[in-house]
């Protein structure tokens, strides 16, 4: 079973979506992007709620782009659920399925048995999402689409539902496309991620690859690789590239195919979780680059601390995330000195810079 999009396009008030080519097999594809990038439009095109201006949609071998929504057998879970307020939860699910036994099974699976006789208006956010999911699954769809399934939920509920959805997607064995603006949800649930920007695909790949090897500056920023800087190539051999910023040198693992010339300038990024902080007198593991730095400030974000350091020998500010026990053992304070360790495989070179002019409606600079 597989869902294929070929050259899908749609002009939409103010911006153009596409052309988009994607193939989703029995897996979960997370479509990640900022608000207004066309995520919902993409799902609506697949479900048939909107008609594309061009392109083909194939589900399980049959072309569905001309069919009305009711004949596509694509299940779409709308943002906020779109439950029918004139029906009870039970009636909402029964409306989708003629098989009461299956409906009951889904209600049990999604733990909504005790709200079956309630009206959708009286449900909490998490219950609403589950009922919407049960209603859609009741149609036994050939593909499942979810629009921001975890947004607007409180943290504990989001955490719980996230791991439940992960298990559920493992078992249903159909193509699943979920769109979200939240990088955590995208990586936690998606086998692969597609990053959308202003209606166009910016990068597609396995979750870890997109996260750790962002193709563009935009993807890097959006996936939390917030340490982005310009560096010049000081040396190069088959296995490593040596970058220079100010008087500081980093070793970077070289890709087999990419060959930046010595002396050229390029863009590199490091995820804050891969910038490691050590006490000033710490010992080194072999191969680690170690750099003197001074703490500019830190933020306590609850499950982790965010520490901003300024390098002493380079005009470069790096952000590191540090777990609470580590933070305590480092005795971090504004102005204190630390050493920064960046492993060679932590630095990623951004090669495919997309020209700025192609950007869509969002304007990241002003924010």
């Amino acid at each position: 079973m597989s869902l294929e999009l070929e050259g899908l396009e749609r002009a939409y008030s103010g911006f153009d979506l596409g052309p988009i080519d994607l193939t989703v097999d029995r897996e979960v594809l997370s479509v990640l992007g900022p608000s207004g990038c066309g995520k919902t439009t993409l799902l609506w095109l697949i479900a048939g709620v909107l008609q594309p201006d061009a392109g083909r949609i194939t589900l399980d071998g049959r072309s569905i782009e001309g069919l009305p929504p009711e004949r596509r057998n694509v299940g779409l879970v709308f943002q906020d659920g779109a439950l029918f307020p004139n029906m009870t939860v039970e009636a909402n699910i029964a409306y989708a399925s003629s098989d009461p036994a299956y409906a009951a099974e889904l209600a049990e699976l999604l733990e909504i048995e005790d709200v079956l006789d309630r009206r959708p208006q009286t449900l909490s956010g998490g219950e609403r999402q589950r009922v919407a999911l049960a209603r859609t699954l009741a149609t036994e769809p050939d593909a499942l689409l979810l629009d921001e399934p975890l947004s607007s939920l409180d943290a504990p509920i989001r955490r719980r539902l996230r791991s439940e959805l992960h298990d559920l997607f493992d078992t249903i064995g159909i193509p699943v496309v979920l769109v979200t603006h939240d990088q955590r949800t995208a990586t936690a649930l998606g086998d692969r991620i597609t990053v959308l920007r202003g209606g166009n695909v910016e990068q597609t790949g396995p979750s870890t690859a997109v996260l750790e090897r962002p193709a563009t500056r935009f993807v890097a920023d959006f996936t939390g690789n917030e340490n982005i800087f310009e560096a010049s190539v000081a040396a190069r051999d088959p296995e490593t590239v040596t970058l220079r910023v100010g008087d500081v040198r980093f070793e970077v693992a070289a890709d087999a195919d990419s060959g930046p010339a010595v002396g050229s300038t390029l863009t590199a990024c490091v995820h804050p979780s891969r910038v490691r902080l050590r006490k000033p007198a710490a010992s080194l593991d072999p191969g680690e680059a170690l750099v003197e730095a001074r703490v500019r400030r830190w933020l306590n974000e609850g499950d982790e601390y965010r520490v901003v350091v300024e390098l002493e020998h380079a005009p470069l500010t790096l952000t590191a995330t540090v777990s609470p026990p580590e933070f305590e053992s480092l005795a971090v304070d504004a102005g204190s000195r630390l050493r920064v360790v960046v492993a060679p495989d932590a630095v990623h070179l951004i090669t495919a810079e997309r020209p700025d002019g192609r950007a869509g409606t969002e304007r990241p600079r002003q924010d």
Binding site: V49, E70, A82, F84
Partner: protein
């Protein structure tokens, strides 16, 4: 600061409230109940009441039958002509009823093609129940369209999309989702149209002085016999109006 802002607005607006309610109260105070109730069984009054009820009911059915589809179309289309169609629906609302009567007479009057053909077929379109219904429909049906349009628009189209993505067609979606949710608004529109049809005077005077509806009967009684004679019918119409109000709320 004792007198707050909202109270001031209510005091100013209260002038209008008094102007709406005082005459109503005054009527009920001015009228000796026994006498008026006696006149209500009068044959003329009963005739006017049955003409009004029958014609307003037919009008309401016609207005609903054709008005609901038009309202749905207006609520859901993104056609460029939408605003022109909406203007055509609102035109009879802002047109004086007597002018409505004049323009209708140019189509269905006794000397027109349509009018004379219908007369020959035994269904005269003026001075007949058909004429009353034609006048009332022109004036009252836009209320169904405008109010039901707002009710349809208040139904989130996402709910219709959801229904269809669950495998239900247009008609099942309309029956199970759209109509139940728009129901109260549609009822309000139908009630308004019925009330307007019951009260229609200007266009009816032009198209069908006979058979007399209640508003026409009030005018005739007033001119020929004086104000008191208009009371019984006026009171019936006030009761109908208040019943309509109760449904609207």
């Amino acid at each position: 600061r004792r007198l707050d802002w909202l109270t001031v607005t209510l005091l100013l607006g209260g002038v209008l409230l008094v102007y709406y309610l005082a005459p109503m109260a005054s009527l009920f105070l001015a009228v000796p109940p026994g006498e008026v109730l006696g006149k209500m069984t009068n044959a003329t009054v009963l005739g006017a009441a049955s003409t009004s009820l029958l014609s307003a009911s037919i009008t309401t059915v016609l207005a609903t039958l054709f008005g609901l589809p038009l309202a749905y179309w207006l609520a859901r289309t993104d056609a460029v002509v939408k605003n022109l169609v909406l203007a055509a629906v609102i035109l009879p609302l802002v047109l004086p009823p007597t002018v409505g009567g004049v323009v209708l007479l140019t189509v269905v009057g006794p000397n027109t093609v349509v009018g004379s053909l219908a007369s020959t077929a035994g269904i005269p379109l003026t001075r007949s129940l058909a004429g009353v219904v034609l006048a009332q429909t022109f004036v009252a049906s836009p209320f169904v369209v405008v109010t039901a349009k707002a009710a349809f628009e208040a139904v989130d189209p996402t709910l219709e999309y959801a229904s269809r993505s669950l495998g239900k067609g247009r008609w099942a979606t309309a029956r199970n989702v759209t109509l139940p949710l728009a129901g109260p608004g549609i009822l309000a529109g139908v009630t308004l149209a019925f009330a307007r049809a019951m009260g229609e005077f200007g266009a009816t005077m032009m198209l069908a002085y006979y058979p007399r509806t209640m508003p026409v009967q009030i005018w005739v009684s007033f001119v020929s016999l004086g104000l008191e004679d208009a009371y019984p019918v006026a009171i019936i119409l006030i009761v109908v109006s208040i019943a309509a109000l109760a449904i609207l709320n």
